[in-house]
Amino acid sequence: MRPPTIELRIQSLIHRHVLLQVALVALLWVAGEGVVRATQLPVPGGLIGLALLLAMLTTSRVDAGLFSRGAHWLIGEMLLFFVPAVMAITQHRELLGDMGLKLLGVIVVGTVLVMTGTALVVDACVTLRHRHAAR
């Protein structure tokens, strides 16, 4: 039996270590930020990175196993990355009292409308499709 090539060894190393996968994902984000800076596109660099990764995965240029555990870890622990942002509330006294209640109203009423509209449209699409298929 031949010994595994360097390429295969690196691949299996990345498959086993979440932290290396996170580093790979971060590398794509850095690349995305670079593209945004160079082209002045009005979107966040993460979006470009997402598009890049999705394009590489769907065209089978890269193996999903190199990214999937790292990506799921980043998504799973995402709340941690917001904790510093939430701490900033101490700097916003205007949210206490009257204004806070108004904002709560906007969120509650807005969410009811968004959910109702979305669900009815999707349900109509699915029902139409089934009727179409049944014919």
């Binding site: 971060a26 917001f82 807005g110 969410t111 669900a119 699915v126």
Partner: protein
């Protein structure tokens, strides 16, 4: 001693933040209530620690800034669940596009009209526009259109927590025939908290909710600046 060295401060406050988050996560797994969400519980723990040690917020923010930067890689990561569910996307893309399109429009327009009607203006109104989508997207949108990113982050969290409860009530009243519609309702209206609720209904609901949440975030990054320009 802590006040002298920025490196020591960064280490101390980052460790404290991660520890508070992990503890909050344990508590949330035990009780699984909206009120025990790590995003509410961890800051409360840190506030009490900050009150005891008399830390200045700016000092805390400088020390933990790097944690927020990880939202960039988190956004890139969403490519993986999209890829894994490509069969569902291919099968239901019409319903997904229609739902996300209508939902995103409704989210931005209702937020704008309701805030204007209630007298919420300026950066606060801009900050609440993006609140319906998953936080990494929402924070990016808020920064682009002139809102306050940390306020948007707070509104997103509140929307998720409130939306999950509203969604369960709406399911009783709305005559929905498909699991896809139930999933889309939660993914569009309550992002990641909604995805968790939808997953409890079934695997189809959960998968659709996750996809709708991601696509809503993507479409908002593109749509919000355009809509805002049109409404001015």
């Amino acid at each position: 001693m802590l006040h002298d060295s920025p490196a020591l401060q960064a280490l101390a406050w980052s460790t404290a933040t991660i520890a508070a988050y992990l503890l909050a996560k344990r508590i949330h797994q035990r009780f699984a209530l909206a009120l025990t969400s790590p995003l509410l519980l961890a800051p409360v723990l840190l506030f009490s620690l900050g009150a005891v040690t008399g830390v200045q917020y700016l000092e805390y923010f400088r020390a933990t800034h790097w944690l927020g930067l990880l939202l960039g890689p988190a956004m890139v990561s969403f490519a993986v669940p999209i890829y894994e569910r490509r069969a569902i996307v291919a099968q239901h893309w019409v319903a997904l596009v229609a739902g996300v399109g209508v939902g995103s429009m409704l989210a931005v327009v209702t937020a704008w009209l309701l805030s204007s009607a209630l007298g919420v203006t300026g950066p606060l109104r801009l900050s609440i526009l993006a609140r319906s989508v998953s936080t990494p997207f929402a924070v990016a949108v808020s920064r682009d259109i002139g809102g306050v990113p940390e306020l948007t982050a707070l509104f997103v969290i509140l929307t998720g927590l409130i939306g999950a409860s509203i969604g369960r009530l709406l399911l009783r009243w709305l005559p929905l025939r498909s699991g896809i519609a139930r999933g889309a309702l939660f993914g569009m209206g309550a992002h990641s908290v909604g995805v968790a609720s939808a997953s409890r209904l079934g695997s189809e609901e959960g998968a659709i909710a996750g996809l709708v949440m991601i696509f809503a975030g993507l479409s908002n990054v593109v749509l919000a600046p355009l809509l805002l320009y049109a409404m001015r």
